[in-house]
C-alpha cells in the first residue's frame, strides 16, 4: 500500500514531507513529516525527527518521534530519542532509550 519507498542504498540528507505512507529502507538524515504512516524497515537508518500519524520501526532511529496515533517498536529495532504518542507498543527484543510521553495534546 505504501507508495513511497526509499530503497536500501539511498541516502537522503534533508527534509521529507508528504501525505502518504512512507517506507524507509535506506538512510535519512534530517526531518520527516508524513501525514500517514511511516515504516522504518530493518535496513533503515533514520537520524531525524519524525512527525507522523503512525510509526512502525524495525530499524534504527535516532531522533524524537511525534505520532498522533501509534508508535510501534518491533523486535531488533534500536531507537534513541523521545516518543510522544497516545499509543505505544514496544515488542520484545526492541531496544529503546528515551522518554515516553503518552499525553499528547495535539
Amino acid at each position: 500500500m505504501a507508495n513511497t519507498v526509499i530503497g536500501s542504498s539511498i541516502i537522503i540528507d534533508g527534509e521529507i514531507s508528504g501525505d502518504e505512507d512512507l517506507v524507509i529502507q535506506g538512510t535519512v538524515k534530517g526531518k520527516i513529516s508524513v501525514k500517514e504512516s511511516l515504516f522504518v524497515e530493518g535496513s533503515g537508518l533514520v537520524e531525524a525527527d519524525i512527525s507522523t500519524q503512525n510509526v512502525e520501526i524495525a530499524g534504527k532511529v535516532t531522533g524524537n518521534i511525534l505520532a498522533t496515533d501509534k508508535v510501534e517498536l518491533k523486535t531488533d529495532c534500536r531507537v534513541v530519542g523521545d516518543i510522544k504518542a497516545p499509543r505505544i507498543l514496544i515488542a520484545d527484543g526492541a531496544s529503546f532509550k528515551g522518554n515516553v510521553d503518552m499525553d499528547v495534546e495535539r
Binding site: G18, E41, E56
Partner: protein, 207 residues
C-alpha cells in the same frame, strides 16, 4: 499495516510518491522514480526516472535519466538523457547521449562532450541531395572562392569534399543539372575537377 510493510521487502527501485516532498540531498546506488517533488541535489549511480507527475528542482548527477515530468536544474548523465513527450526541462544537459522526443519541451544547453565536426571526406555515400543550396558557407575554407557561386556549380560536392571539412562547403548551388552527372563520376574524379576548375585544385591543396 505490519504485514504490508513486510511485503515491500527487497525493492530495487526507490519511488517517491506523488504527495511526497523531499528537500535536501539524495544519493543512492539504485534507480529512483520520482512521482512527487524533489528539491536539492540528486546523485545516483543508476537511473533517474521522473514520471509525469514528478517535479525535480535539483541538479542531478546520474547514469541515465528518463524524464517525463518537470525538471528544473542541470542533469549530468554518464550514459544518456531521455526527454519523453511529456517531459519539460529547463537546465543544462551534460551527457554523451541525448534523446529528445517530439512533444518534449526543453530550454537550456546540451553538451555531449567531444563532438567531431562532420567531415566531407567520404564521397561514397554522400549524394548531392544532402546539401541544400548553401552558396556562401565556404568561409570555412581558407581558400579564396568563398562566395563564388559559379565555381561550385560545376562540381560542388566532389571537389569540395576533400578540400573543405565542414559540410556546408558541400554547397550545392542552384544548378541541379550539373551536379547529378558529377556525382556519378565523382568517385574517380580526382583529375577531372582540376581540369574543370582550377579553383578546386587550389582548394584541395589548401586542405
Amino acid at each position: 499495516m505490519a504485514i504490508q510493510a513486510k511485503e515491500i521487502e527487497q525493492v530495487d527501485n526507490t519511488i517517491v510518491g506523488e504527495s511526497i516532498l523531499i528537500n535536501g540531498k539524495l544519493e543512492g546506488d539504485e534507480d529512483l522514480t520520482v512521482r512527487g517533488r524533489v528539491e536539492g541535489a540528486i546523485t545516483l549511480t543508476k537511473t533517474l526516472i521522473v514520471e509525469p507527475s514528478g517535479v525535480v528542482k535539483a541538479n542531478a548527477a546520474v547514469r541515465n535519466a528518463i524524464i517525463s515530468g518537470v525538471v528544473v536544474g542541470n542533469i549530468s548523465a554518464s550514459e544518456s538523457v531521455h526527454l519523453t513527450r511529456e517531459g519539460r526541462m529547463v537546465g543544462d544537459i551534460n551527457s554523451p547521449r541525448v534523446i529528445i522526443v517530439e512533444g518534449a519541451a526543453f530550454r537550456g544547453r546540451i553538451d555531449m562532450g567531444e563532438v567531431e565536426e562532420p567531415r566531407i571526406q567520404e564521397r561514397t555515400a554522400r549524394p548531392q541531395s544532402v546539401a541544400p543550396a548553401r552558396p556562401a558557407m565556404v568561409p570555412v575554407r581558407p581558400a579564396p572562392p568563398p562566395a563564388r557561386p559559379p565555381a561550385p556549380p560545376p562540381r560542388p560536392p566532389v571537389v569540395v569534399r576533400p578540400a573543405a571539412p565542414p559540410k556546408p562547403v558541400e554547397v550545392k548551388p542552384p544548378a541541379p543539372p550539373p551536379p547529378p552527372p558529377k556525382p556519378a563520376a565523382a568517385e574517380e574524379r580526382a583529375p577531372m575537377p582540376t581540369a574543370l576548375a582550377k579553383r578546386k585544385v587550389v582548394v584541395k591543396r589548401k586542405k
